[in-house]
Amino acid sequence: MNNLQQLSAMALWGACVLYAIAMVAYAIRLSRVAELKGAAAAANKTAEPEAAVSVGSAPAQASAASATVSANAGTGKTGASTPGAGASAGSRDQKAAKALGIARAATLVGAVLHAVGVTARGIEAEHVPWSTMYEYTISGSLVAVVVFLIVQRKRDITYMGAGVTGLATIALGLGLTVLYQDATGLQPALQSFWLVIHVSIATIATGIFGVGFIATALQLMRDYRDSEPRQVTNRFLKAFHDPGVRVIKGKTFRFLEAVPSPKKLEALAFRLNAVGFVLWTFTVMAGAIWAEHAWGRYWGWDPKEIWSFVIWVIYAAYLHARTTQGWAGRRSAWVSIVGFAAIIMNFTVVNLVFQGLHSYAKA
């Protein structure tokens, strides 16, 4: 065990723990903001009985309230100044602000450690750190966190923090325990400029799709929670077809009240998935060029190529679904969830079970 290896592992474990802390803090913050909003809505109710709305069934008003509350919570000012709700909301507000501070700091320091760990691994292995499943996992999750931090600078997506840091915690934890492999030199087939291009873009695309997946998951949860309950006979089937089915009950998953409306989440997910799709298209092209150089054929339908193609086609279907009548919104969101599931499949089952030229990813 040399120094770099130790440094890399320690930094990554540190990042993993910090992400876990950040996840908890983000989750606390989310539920506090949701409570605050409940309080604000209750206060509104007493003040203006005519305009009374029950939060669960009125997404428009609820999200309007969310906008003011989360804006205030972010700057640490008191959210609900309405008499009656003020006192308790004030302490909740402070807790939310404190949780947010912890979450942000933990994420930031975690990301720095994470970057150190990935870099140290790269130096130790003497090649770019994305040639084995372990390396791909630590690099891909770093991209997801960095994408989150970058988007966060431009627009408030704090509500995604728990999801992203949670994903990163799992990825690092699994990477360090299950997937870990000592660094080795590269096989001749991997020694190419195209490895750097192909795999780095694939890693970045995966990270971006991952953040898009979190946005879509929140969109769907919020969407199901917001929709009016209805009499359904076959809940299983209709969950996919009938916008009226309420799978997530109004009382549960309270934190979802602190999340933007499904429409906003869908717009965010689309922009992320669009970037991911362009990068994935490039990944597949670069992979074909590399295969042409290394194996003398640009496309041979080996399992990895098949799954890259499947992922590409699913996300193309998602982009079409968004603009197809009856598929926009919920169903297209499901298509993109399936797309991300295919990415995970490609990376796990295909690497470990199916044989092919790409199977050196295992070793």
């Binding site: 906008a67 804006a71 431009k154 627009r155 408030d156 997506i157 030199g185 096989q187 001749p188 087939a189 020694q191 190419s192 195209w194 933007p260 429409k263 906003k264 869908e266 717009a267 965010l268 689309f270 922009r271 669009a274 970037v275 799709f277 362009v278 298209t281 490039f282 092209m285 074909a288 060029i289 042409e292 150089h293 290394a294 194996w295 003398g296 054929r297 640009y298 496309w299 041979g300 339908w301 080996d302 399992p303 098949i306 799954w307 499947v310 086609v313 699913i314 279907a317 982009l319 079409h320 679904a321 603009t323 197809t324 009548q325 009856g326 598929w327 298509v335 295919a342 295909v350 199916f354």
Partner: protein, 546 residues
Amino acid sequence: MARVKIDNYAVADAPRLGVRGWLRWIWRQVTSMRIALILLLLLALAAIPGSVLPQWPQQPGETKAFIDNNAVIGPVLDKLGFLDVFGSAWFTAIYVLLFASLIGCIIPRALAHYKAMRAPVPAVPSSLARYEPSGREETDVDAATAIERARKELRPRAGWLGALTGYRIRIDERAVKDGAVKTNDGKERRELAMTADMGHIRELGNLIFHISLVFVLIAVGAGTLLTYRGQAIIVEGRTFTNAAVAYDTFSNGSGFDPADLQPFTVKLDGLDAVFEDNGRPKEFTAHVTLQEPGEDAVQKDVQVNRPLQVDGAKMYLQGNGYAPVFTYTDGDGNVAFEGPVVFLPQDQVYTSTGVVKVPDVTSGEQIGLKGTLLPTEVTKPGGSVSIHPDPGNPVIYFTAYTGDLGLDDGVPQNAYQLDESELSPVRGDDGQPFVFGITLGDTVTLPDGLGTISFDALPRFAAMDLRADPSLPWLLAASISMLVGLAISLFATRRRMWLVAPMDTTTTVVEAAALAPSHDGGVEAALDRALAATSGRVPDADEEDE
């Protein structure tokens, strides 16, 4: 009769359409967005079995074994095309339909887009009330100045490129459409209405993307026709002459005539194989001398990722191994065999197997030898193994056979296997099959006066893969144009903004609204900038969200 829904249309009494009506109906279905979507999903689904089940083109051996091991389901899956998914009728049907749909979709859209690009910018709708986002701005300048300021702020650019990438502007003076139409003294009120429109490039990018997809498919198809490839093994010091018959395997598309191959020669001067101490391969380089007809011989290095370019084709270094050189002297003292024999590596440390076939013995039966080469042999309790792919201590273990090699039957034979049906093993003094090890430079005498064999040298061989596909540059061009079109289509902005300023009022109240897809996060800021310009206000910070 049930009503049949086609996207937005509901067609009653579908059966009365008649033949042409039906054809038109089918065509509309095929080219509808929903069918395109379903075909895409089907395409993804249909590809998956190709990664789960063994496939004829990729793994013929495993596929055959799969059928043999699954007596019931194997042949059924084979019949249904599941063991050659990408050549199967159903997979082909899906993508042919998809591309029919795509072409049927592109043509009308291209025409519509052409018309739309040439059409003037549409006027402002009479009421802005139902559009989001919207805004209003009070300014003390008159309507003309306010609108002009907004126009300047949006910076429309001249020329077709400007029209494609920036805002296109239209300004009308017209009677007030919304609100109080007349002034108090009964005069008609007038207003200036400006439309700023951008986004043609998005649609153009989308068309480029879809058209390029068709070209990608055409290039792939042309490639299948015009391609050829062959595999050859060249031993160090030997020369290979390019001709279809010289390859171990050679295949070509129906558009290529193998007689057109140029008879260049490739001599393998040496092959460097570098391994790490633990035996992992590090680098392979084949040093070759290439001689094209009528040209000077040139020396080249071929590496795994760096093929040799020759005659419009590429020659790849696909594999390597050892080709030990033997001399077999038969019982009568004549040299019956001399030369290198290719041994195929079986594992990471290049434990390799091969056979020596000696049909031309002076007298008696033919001789066959089955050998296993251990490049760096060490003896362990369980037996001998190789611990490194480099030839540290090369030993070959042979089993010898006599009888009929079966070479004269006219049945094509595998050069790397011994057909043992007409052979019997040579036995030693103890009656057991005679197994012997031979080290480099050694000579071993076989029992029963069967002669001697010596292991003279251990050159390496290079497995070369020649491949030509004239469609590649076209495929690359189509792919790049597809990528560019896609990026434009996904990242370019499509939005329309309207500003309306009433004329002849003391303070001008500019009303504005915009129309944009929900993912356009910048539309509110853009609208605010235009509005702020009318009064000279500093626009709100460029905050995209919420």
